[in-house]
């Protein structure tokens, strides 16, 4: 357990990290049209200042001893009754520090990119307001020092996600997708709510310090229950099976939103939650195993969906599910995996943001068409977009020396440390990643031009390409930087613990095997989609392809199991309420006093006299009763 340090110096500004974008959001959303002109720039500047503040905090933190890097700032007593007491309090430690850096730096780049991407949207002020709200909520999520306050951030990012998925509300599909995301996430919230309740009745507190400090005294059954409930919460926010169905629909939102919220930051909140709660999962082996199982299932589901979708954003969304699956597996592996879960989360945050922004740049060129069957041969026309997209692709595929190689390889290695089966799964999924990413690059940038007639592809403006270049640089070097210069294991070890395990296969051989599998997947993708002509309409496809296109029937399963029964029950109860409950009330009223007869009388205009006579009658009854009782 780390010592809690009072937040002094720059760390006393933790609240400001949240307050700045929150204020920005409030000014933009409440200020109305008068902020139209300068609002977006204000929004961008709050995030840039946040990023600078975060870097300053990092520098200060590095100057402290490894055990003295947890800073705690109690602002005031928030919710209290009886023995329940929760503070409005923030905590910055090594784990939240890396999240703050990811959120603010990637957030700043995406804000800047959006200046270009959304420049023609009439509602762009609102867009930046929502985006700022998101950053504020996400920072609250990672800076809260207790679960209840974290819940506020947790739901806040969900709200921002809801608002931004449904940003183009006039599209019924967007509005439906937003609602779906929120409701599925509410299922996860049930898990989080209950986990918090179990914590309180067990430990008498819901602060990280108190809960993690006394896990040793709780029974394994209790900790398993907490772990599984937290896992349910994580499944909702991180689109893991069985709560995955909202993420692909969420691509209805503007592309920068997909990059920031539905790839780089919010969807990784589940991984944060599990990693943050490491003390619980370390003591609850079954819950940790469940985490791994969920991660493996989602890793494959996402990868398979990613292979079949022709919509570039949905294919990337499948990939996001799959990559978060990797992180969840790593988090479920315990102390051998936590640091690598976060490591992959950081590199993924950068290269996936790069991929989405690249996809946005392509869409910008193709008149917002997302169908890759209508792309092709774009590499010469969009050099920067192509170059950065390729770098990010190599990174996500795990090709050395790009960032994704180091983080994914660490997870594969850690997986083999615990179980060969899980290890083999991660290698296979890496092969599928190779396939779908190659397919995406081939369909978009190579082959023949299959554009719609009115498309005139062009490179995007500098305000969009510069963030792409910066992200591509990150996708190249961040992995090495974190591993060799930043020592991510030792950095995070005081918070999440770290153990080095042993693998029977020599490390280099494992690396080579993984790489070979990835290259095989990539080669198949290349042969199928770059060598052969890509048909403009999708071929019928085999059973698996069709299932993958239908997102493995996730929506249909939800409909059959939950949605339809709920509406049936609802319809039945509406009928029951009218016919029986209310029917009983009205018929007994009629039986007693002839309500219907009186109604007729009432309608002749004696309202006042009638009502007063009712009351008068009641008072008479009172008096009579009093007299009878008293005599």
């Amino acid at each position: 357990m780390q010592e809690l340090m009072p937040a002094t110096g720059v760390f006393s500004l933790l609240w400001l990290l949240i307050a700045l974008p929150l204020a920005g959001s409030a000014i933009l959303l409440l200020g109305g049209r008068m902020t139209n002109k300068w609002g977006p720039y204000l929004a961008v500047s709050t995030i840039v200042i946040d990023a600078l503040l975060a870097i300053w905090m990092l520098v200060e933190m590095m100057g402290q001893g490894a055990e003295e890097r947890t800073f705690n700032d109690n602002i005031y007593s928030w919710v209290f009754a009886g023995t329940f007491k929760v503070d409005m309090a923030f905590q910055l430690d090594q784990l939240s520090m890396v999240f703050v850096l990811l959120i603010t730096i990637v957030g700043a780049l995406i804000h800047i990119y959006s200046l270009g991407y959304m420049s023609h949207d009439p509602d762009r002020r609102k867009f930046f307001g929502f985006l700022n709200l998101f950053v504020a909520a996400m920072l609250l999520l990672v800076l809260a020092n207790n679960y209840l306050l974290m819940y506020v951030g947790w739901e806040g990012v969900g709200l921002a996600s809801y608002l931004l998925i449904g940003f183009w509300q006039y599209k019924p599909s967007a509005a439906a997708a937003a609602k779906k995301a929120f409701i599925i996430n509410r299922v996860g919230d049930v898990g989080l709510s209950l986990a918090i309740m179990v914590m309180f009745v067990t430990f008498g507190s819901v602060s990280f310090e108190d809960v993690f400090g006394s896990t040793g005294q709780a029974s394994e059954g209790t900790l398993t229950a907490i772990g599984l409930l937290l896992l349910l919460a994580a499944c909702g926010k991180s689109a893991q099976f069985p709560l995955q169905a909202w993420l692909l629909d969420a691509m209805e939102g503007p592309t920068p939103v997909s990059a920031l919220i539905h790839a780089a930051t919010m969807v990784t909140a589940g991984v944060y939650l599990i990693t943050r709660s490491n003390a619980i999962f370390d003591a609850a082996a079954w819950a940790a195993t469940a985490v791994v199982v969920i991660g493996v299932i989602t890793m494959f589901m996402g990868a398979i969906i990613g292979c079949a979708k022709d919509d570039i954003k949905k294919s990337l969304a499948g990939s996001t599910m799959s990559q978060i699956g990797y992180m969840v597996i790593a988090a479920g592996l315990g102390p051998v995996g936590y640091v690598f879960a976060i490591f992959h989360l950081l590199t993924h945050g950068v290269f996936k943001a790069g991929l989405f922004l690249g996809a946005g740049s392509v869409m910008h060129a193709m008149k917002d068409n997302v169908n890759m069957r209508r792309y092709g041969a774009l590499r010469a026309l969009m050099v920067v977009t192509f170059g950065t997209f390729l770098v990010c692709t190599l990174s996500i595929m795990g090709i050395p020396p790009f960032s994704g190689f180091w983080s994914k390889d660490s997870i594969v290695h850690a997986a083999f440390e615990s179980s060969n089966l899980v290890g083999i799964c991660t290698v296979l999924a890496a092969g599928i990643t190779g396939f779908y990413m190659t397919r995406m690059v081939a369909m978009t940038f190579y082959g023949k031009a299959r554009w719609e007639d009115d498309a005139h592809p062009h490179e995007s403006p500098a305000v969009m390409t510069i963030p792409l270049i910066i992200l591509a640089i990150g996708a190249t070097f961040l992995g090495m930087a974190l591993l060799f210069w930043g020592n991510i294991e030792t950095w995070l070890e005081p918070v999440v613990g770290f153990e080095e395990g042993h693998v029977a296969i020599p490390e280099l051989l494992l690396m080579a095997i993984t790489l070979a599998v990835v290259l095989i997947g990539a080669a198949i993708g290349w042969i199928q989609y770059a060598r052969r002509e890509v048909p403009v309409t999708e071929p019928h496809g085999n059973l698996l392809t069709r299932a993958a296109r239908a997102e493995l029937y996730g929506n249909e399963i939800n409909d059959v199991l939950v949605v339809h029964p709920s509406f049936w029950l609802s319809r039945f109860l509406v009928w029951f309420d009218n016919a029986w409950v209310d029917g009983f009330v009205n018929s007994s009223a009629a039986a007693v006093g002839g309500l219907s007869g009186r109604m007729r009388k009432y309608q002749t205009g004696f309202i006042r006299s009638y009502a007063l006579s009712m009351l008068g009658g009641a008072i008479l009854v009172v008096v009579a009763l009093v007299l009878v009782r008293l005599s």
Binding site: A81, G82, E155, K171, S193, F200, L615, A618
Partner: protein
């Protein structure tokens, strides 16, 4: 024992709107505008005085009740005119005092001079609102059961006229149903009250209606069980608790938005307030006896209301059923007998008052733009022509689904936590309600506000200054108390701890570790 407070704060507070009501009635009929202005001024005066009282209220005081007034009234029957407020009464009076002026401003143009559609005069409507405010203050401030009962029953009169004379097409049926249903409940309560008087006479030799004397009585459990039912039945109808709810959707959909706000936002709270103030402390043994049954009804109500709301095609009925579901939560929190649960219920009452006001008033503003239709299918894509209205509608929806960060979350989470603390499975099941709430609330938002703009809506005006000025204070309070609920908790918690100690209940301690440092204010 006549104890006279230095200044009769509560009496004055209650009298101001009553006097105002008479003034409004006496104004000439030809000056409807003046009637509105006078009514608004009076309600603001009440609000100002309420703020003064709230500031003078000492949250850390040992005295559970403050601003006590005590006068003999009908000594022969032990009836006293006695007033006093604890933290619970204070926050509910404050809620009323806040909502009344907002309702007046919101309903500024809702009432027209009598014509084919309505029969009441303009000044009459505003006079009734003020008269109602007097009675609302009365029920929350009374510390004599008889006085409480008088206010409780008298409240029916203004509401009856507000629905019956100023409501929509179905107003006569709805008003009558409301009146008869409430009177029925009231009669049972009256019978119990008289029984209570007799029992107190048997125990102490002198029969009384005074709350302070009734609370200490050691009534034998069998009698308690009988007398409890009369009170509880009246409160369950008022709240309303499943299955005594069917008057509410009719009343809410026939009433003007402002009437619906006062009806659901404040008057229905009298039911749950009554449970905390009368059922629990006077009949502790009976409360414990019936708790499993009531918890069951509350649990059914949460889901029943939510699922029926999911299937509604009418906005007003939808929100009425949604309120019924929310009242399930409030009642649940009361009858689990934990400090967190009961405190949570009180916070929930305040939050629900605010969210009800937000949703009914916003929906009312919307309906006004389409000749009063409350059919959801008549609205689509409102966000396009009226983004501010849609924004407030969404805010109200989020407040209703208890979004963390808003005060409704504090109330709901505390209720669920308090329940979970006592009955794990009940708490766990009730928590599932948050999913269905989100489903019906976001469904109505999606259907009415998003998508393509429906015919006839393209040219509607967005909210005007008057309308915005009504909604902004509600939204601001909802957010402020969500982030900083201390002003409410500071006064409510001590009152709840008093209730807990009167009923002899203690909170279950945590199962491991941490020794609690804060005292619970409960007897071992």
């Amino acid at each position: 024992m006549t104890f006279v407070n230095d200044f009769p704060w509560l009496t004055v507070l209650a009298l101001i709107p009553l006097v105002g009501s008479f003034v409004v009635v006496l104004l000439p009929k030809s000056m409807p505008q003046l009637a509105k202005q006078v009514a608004l001024a009076i309600s603001l005066l009440v609000l100002a005085l309420t703020i003064v009282i709230a500031l003078r209220f000492d949250g850390s005081s040992e005295l559970p009740f403050q601003f006590i007034e005590y006068h003999e009234w009908i000594p022969a029957f032990g009836i006293t005119y006695s007033l006093g407020i604890d933290g619970i009464g204070l926050v509910l009076i404050a809620l009323s005092a806040i909502l009344v002026p907002l309702t007046i401003v919101a309903g500024w143009n809702d009432v027209e001079e009598p014509n084919s559609e309505s029969v009441g005069s303009v000044k009459g409507y505003f006079a009734l609102i003020l008269a109602l405010e007097t009675l609302m203050i009365g029920v929350f401030a009374a510390t004599d059961v008889f006085l409480f009962y008088v206010c409780f029953e008298a409240m029916l009169i203004p509401v009856y006229f507000m629905i019956g004379r100023y409501g929509g097409p179905n107003r006569s049926y709805a008003a009558m149903k409301f009146l008869i249903y409430s009177l029925l409940g009231g009669l049972f309560m009256l019978a119990s009250m008289i029984g209570l008087f007799v029992v107190s006479g048997q125990i102490t030799g002198v029969g009384t209606f005074n709350w302070f004397q009734l609370v200490g009585l050691d009534i034998d459990p069998t009698t308690q069980k009988l007398l409890f039912l009369g009170f509880f039945f009246a409160f369950a109808i008022k709240a309303p608790l499943w299955p005594f709810h069917t008057w509410l959707p009719d009343a809410a959909s026939a009433a003007k938005p402002g009437t619906a706000v006062l009806l659901i936002g404040v008057l229905d709270k009298v039911g749950t307030f009554g449970m905390i103030r009368y059922c629990l402390p006077i009949f502790p043994a009976a409360s414990e006896f019936y708790a499993p049954l009531i918890i069951g009804m509350a649990l059914v109500g949460i889901f029943y209301g939510a699922f029926v709301a999911l299937g509604q095609n009418d906005m007003k009925r939808l929100f009425a059923y949604s309120s019924m579901s929310h009242f399930g939560f409030i009642v649940l929190g009361i009858f689990v007998f934990t400090t967190i649960g009961i405190s949570g219920s009180v916070v929930y009452m305040v939050a629900h008052g605010l969210s009800t006001a937000a949703i009914f008033l916003t929906a009312g503003f919307l309906m006004q733009r389409r000749r009063g239709s409350s059919l959801i299918s008549d609205y689509s894509g409102v966000n396009k022509p009226a983004p501010v209205l849609a924004g407030f509608f969404l805010f109200a929806a989020l407040s209703s689904l208890a979004l963390p960060g808003l005060v409704s979350f504090i109330g709901e989470f505390m209720v669920l936590l308090g329940t979970f603390q006592r009955y794990m499975w009940v708490g766990g099941i009730a928590t599932l309600g948050i999913v269905i709430t989100a489903a019906y609330v976001l469904r109505v938002y999606q259907k009415s506000m998003t998508g393509s703009v429906s015919e006839g809506l393209a040219s509607i005006k967005d909210l005007g200054k008057r309308e915005i000025s009504v909604l902004v204070p509600i939204a601001a309070l909802t957010i402020f108390l969500g982030l900083y609920p201390a002003p409410v908790l500071n006064v409510v918690n001590p009152a709840v701890e008093t209730v807990m100690s009167i009923i002899g209940q203690t909170d279950p301690p945590p199962t491991v570790g941490l020794t609690s440092t804060s005292s619970e204010g409960t007897q071992p």
